[in-house]
Amino acid sequence: MVKLIRLLRGYIVFSVTGSYPEKFVNTLIRHGIKVWGVRSRDGVIFCRSKASDYRFIRRLSRRSNSRVRIKEKYGLPFIVFRNRNRVGLAVGAVCFLLIFKALSLFVWNVDLYGFENMSYNHVKDVMKSVGVYEGAYGNYESLKNIQTKAMIDFDNVSWITVNVDGSCAEVNISETEEKESVIDSSPCNIKAETDGQVIRVDAYSGMSAVKSGDAVVKGNLLISGVVETELGGTHLEHASGLVWARTERSERFIVEKNCGFSEYESNPSKRYSANIFNITVPLTFSHFSPERNYFNFIEENRAEFKGRSASVSLVGESVYFYDEKEIARSESLADEVFNAEMLLNELFCYGDKKIIDRAIMHSADKENYYYEVRYVCEEDIGESSEIIVDIGEQQNASDDELDR
């Protein structure tokens, strides 16, 4: 800091010669002139002092029969003096300061923290919509308003803080945590979700209404939540249990005879650009025909300065061109597509069921191949069904039970 101040104010290195140069240095100190960096070389003493003190130093030297001579000059006043005729430099310096000041009014770096379930680009877009983006005017009137607006735009965020420090905006986001599901213990029955033949009943609570071998249709009562007490009355329970039944299900798949597909070029066209203060400067000029179908993959590498991303980045764009084509599917190809679709469907929709048997029926018309799969499965067919209770009636029933 001291060095910087000295450079701004300007300082000189002068030599002291004469019969007793040491005495002259003592005289300077006694007169309150600050000297530093004093060194002696071959009988000559070199000192540093403020440029403004030199006139007084020279006057003192005349009185003490010493000779002083300026050897070097350092600092801003000397640079300005040397370049006093170069108007362009002065104009450039003023322009630099003005541009520097103007640029410092904008936000050039937005750091986003604290989110895990949302994508970076989504958060960036939302923050941009509320006015926090690179290149935005940084004189925000109310950061609270911005936080509130952002909170409305995000679905699952518990709080947001936006701090602006100079040209850097820091956004901290805390996402809401999903609440653990509360176990429902309200009175209910277990009813059949689909038709089937009961194989086994595991009733954990409630009273089993069916037994192994019974045929049930959709909506039939399987486990009752209305349980008889030892005294002959009834009370309501949350029925739970597993009712395994053999069921029949069918799925229909349609495979088109003609299908479109995209044929990609193996080598992507690459182009690069530099993003400087939100201004994009193209670096390569590769051929690009917008008439063709394409998708692009953009990769941005930001420069970092002291652990913070700077407002300069190198953007690489890989453009993959493709042509839409159509082919006619043969029967064997259609079978392959169907098999793949069927396996996927079984994986996602029949994961909790045990497939005992499957029968495939195949037909076709001019446009499509049709596949119908009939499954025989073993599955838990029970589903909870709420018991709607009239509180008045329930009270009367309990009173009756007590009277008995």
């Binding site: 003592n26 100190i29 530093w36 960096g37 004093v38 002696s40």
Partner: protein, 92 residues
């Protein structure tokens, strides 16, 4: 030099004040690189490898190579360089 409110005991705030109070100079040597002389009366002789400083108790001569004056004030001088020896001598 500072003093307590009653004005009886002087409170010394720096080595310079201490040396002034004691009437003799205080010399601090930091390794072989730096020597601080508080209570100096001025530079008597200054050559490339020798510096003679006047103090209340006489002269202190610092011998070494590349001797530079890092700081110089009316009471204090800080000499830096590669120190070899320090000699004390009487005036006259």
């Amino acid at each position: 030099m500072g003093s307590d409110p009653k004005g009886k005991k002087p409170t010394l705030r720096s080595v310079g004040e201490f040396s002034e109070f004691m009437g003799s100079s205080v010399i601090q040597i930091c390794g072989r690189k730096e020597v601080t002389i508080d209570g100096c009366k001025g530079i008597v002789e200054y050559l490339d490898c020798e510096m003679k400083v006047g103090t209340n108790d006489g002269y202190v001569t610092v011998f070494g190579t590349d001797l530079n004056i890092k700081y110089l004030s009316i009471n204090t001088v800080v000499v830096e360089g590669k120190l070899q020896r320090i000699e004390f001598s009487d005036p006259g």
